[in-house]
Symmetry: C2
Subunit: 381 residues, 2 copies
């Protein structure tokens, strides 16, 4: 059989490549040039390549570096050119995880031209590479939930057209009488509504946790966090986003999906800029949210504003307070300081410091934060 013969030759391309957008994936060689990038080796090193014969300097930068994104783009690893004009560099070994990376070609910062796995952003774009290793954010053979995109025009946000990504857990379609608790999950500055699925694999994380009975099946709601144009002050953005979430997103979700009512069935978490929004919305409305998770956000002196962080009696009403951060993130010391002061005040909370692999201000940390936080939610409702 011709088909069977061809199937027998199919190798790595099938293992990871899927419909691309939301999935982790390995690249397909670009037929025209034969260039493979990235190439993930079994020792967890990764070779990156780009054909740019006329370039005089090419760098590769990615989330394995501990520095911040802006610094990474100018402090990348220099690549070396062969006689065909193909630049390459091998990085690692890296912890099994997924990393954002980009090339700098003579000062032009670009995604990998031959890698179809893109990290979408609200401005610019970059590529993603996965070093596989049976991590809890990888696709496994367990029942899978759906990711749905809801479209609407927002009255609160100047009539802009918005998308709300919604994960419904495995079984949602079949258990027509069951109502589910909801986690509102927010992305960082420059991110988009697809961030937590495209880069965070929140859907796979929850699928896997549910399969292991570590997490209660829940709906996860992922709106777009830029209420104001990119570049607007994040504080102003958070104030407007709060109105959007409370007045439009939550009512829309609760009217459309089978949502369990009340604060004990509502959680909120966010990373970086989304952590700031979570502070404002989650800690500011303890009557609405019983669970709050901050990933890589140092609220600094703002902690004084929130009763649940200063009054052990009010704090006891919270079912979970979670802070997570990577040890090389510049926000780590500030978050540690807060956790110490909360402990001194007798306020129950969880501090998770990621010390393995890439521990900067990066997605490898945030996937672990969600993997830690989700099992704390809705267990005793």
């Amino acid at each position: 059989m011709k088909i069977l013969r061809i199937l027998a030759t199919v190798t790595y391309a099938f293992s990871y490549l899927s419909g691309v957008i939301f999935a982790q994936g390995s690249p397909v060689p670009l037929a025209a040039t034969g260039i493979v990038s990235p190439e993930v080796h079994s020792d967890r090193t990764v070779t990156f390549r780009i054909q740019a014969p006329k370039a005089s300097k090419v760098q590769i930068a990615g989330e394995w570096m501990s520095s911040n994104q802006a610094e990474r783009t100018v402090n990348g690893t220099e690549m070396t050119k062969d006689d065909k004009g193909i630049w390459s560099a091998t990085i690692g070994p890296l912890e099994a995880n997924t990393y954002i990376y980009s090339f700098d070609v003579d000062g032009v910062n670009i995604a990998d031209p031959v890698n179809p796995i893109i990290k979408l952003r609200a401005r610019t774009s970059a590529s993603l590479v996965t070093v596989p290793g049976d991590q809890p954010w990888e696709y496994r053979d367990v029942p899978h939930g759906n990711v749905e995109v809801n479209y609407h025009r927002s009255a609160v946000l100047n009539n802009s057209v918005r998308q709300i990504f919604v994960y419904t857990p495995p079984g949602y379609d079949k258990n027509a009488s069951m109502r589910y608790p909801v986690l509102y999950l927010l992305h960082g500055n420059g991110g988009v509504a697809s961030d937590w699925t495209n880069a965070g694999f929140a859907n796979y994380i929850e699928d896997n946790l549910v399969a292991e009975k570590k997490s209660v099946p829940m709906i996860i709601v992922m709106p777009w966090g830029h209420a104001l144009p990119i570049g607007a002050p994040t504080g102003d953005n958070a104030l407007l986003f709060e109105q959007y979430l409370l007045k439009e997103v939550i009512p829309k979700v609760e009217s459309k999906y089978r949502v369990a009512p009340g604060r004990n069935n509502r959680a909120i978490a966010g990373l970086s800029m989304g952590g700031g929004q979570t502070t404002l919305i989650g800690l500011g409305h303890p009557d609405m949210f019983a669970y709050v998770g901050l990933f890589s956000h140092d609220m600094g002196a703002d902690s004084a504003k929130y009763k649940v962080l200063n009054d052990p009696k009010a704090a006891a009403e919270m079912k979970a307070l979670f802070w997570g951060v990577g040890k090389e993130d510049p926000r780590d010391p500030g978050m540690k300081k807060l956790t110490d002061s909360l402990t001194a005040l007798g306020i129950k909370h969880v501090f998770y410091e990621d010390t393995e692999g890439a521990t900067g201000h990066v997605w490898p940390v945030w996937r672990k934060c969600l993997t830690q936080f989700a099992p704390m939610l809705f267990q005793n409702n």
Copy 2:
């Protein structure tokens, strides 16, 4: 009010930018460099810009050009450099539509580094620019359906992990007893499962047609068409894809969604490579599909293989046969020839030739094909 003051300064960014992935969108200026690309002017011309001070030659190529994709990348419009190293070119005026484009910087073909609106592909990537004009594929203030991503591991396809994008029409969630007909909608070579939403706006097209009562509300199913690795012969790929669609996709869809049964509630259409698959699957299984649409696919002598194209009695059992193509597409003459022979045989069908705007082998044509085809479906069931 500080928020109100900031809101007053918000201009174009709100009109089009949304959560990015599936939506049409205008770009956000890159704060770091101040470069705006693309800039869509009110006269429907578009200025593209890229900062590449060290480059010696930069070109812009896009779907407004009639040539094929491979040719476009080497025959683009040369851009001119200013004293800051910013290259620019103004194209158009263009028909109101959305166009894929990319830059060639000294031989490196890349997406626009500052435009977040990406055309995802199975290899490489490119950018999208929208010239707005109240077209039927644009977001309008009508009830909106959902786009859902279903994840599964395919036994037919060597246990690869696949995504199936599914559009459910407005009202699907509320009309819990209603069953819907289904259109299986296939992408082209090098495409991904998100193609028909990311680039084709099939969801907006159907939302708008339903709102105007031109189309029956239907489910649209968009699987990933690469059953074999990219670069495998499309004929071999189609044979395997046929098994996947018939044995896995359709049963999965019909067990999960509220699907109306039988051939009269099943349509199939595809563009280019997906047109070849549609030929094989749709015309080869007239017992399963009563509606078949080919977009920019010339089946040539293969038409002799299909009874419904050679026997007016068998053809009369088909509720719609539709061919659509752009007049500058190299496939146009072959498709015209077939339509003439079908007419001579007395076989009822529709031939749609797009003669306005970009009429090559491009998405501007395929959006129009779907806009023409969808109203023919399921009207008298």
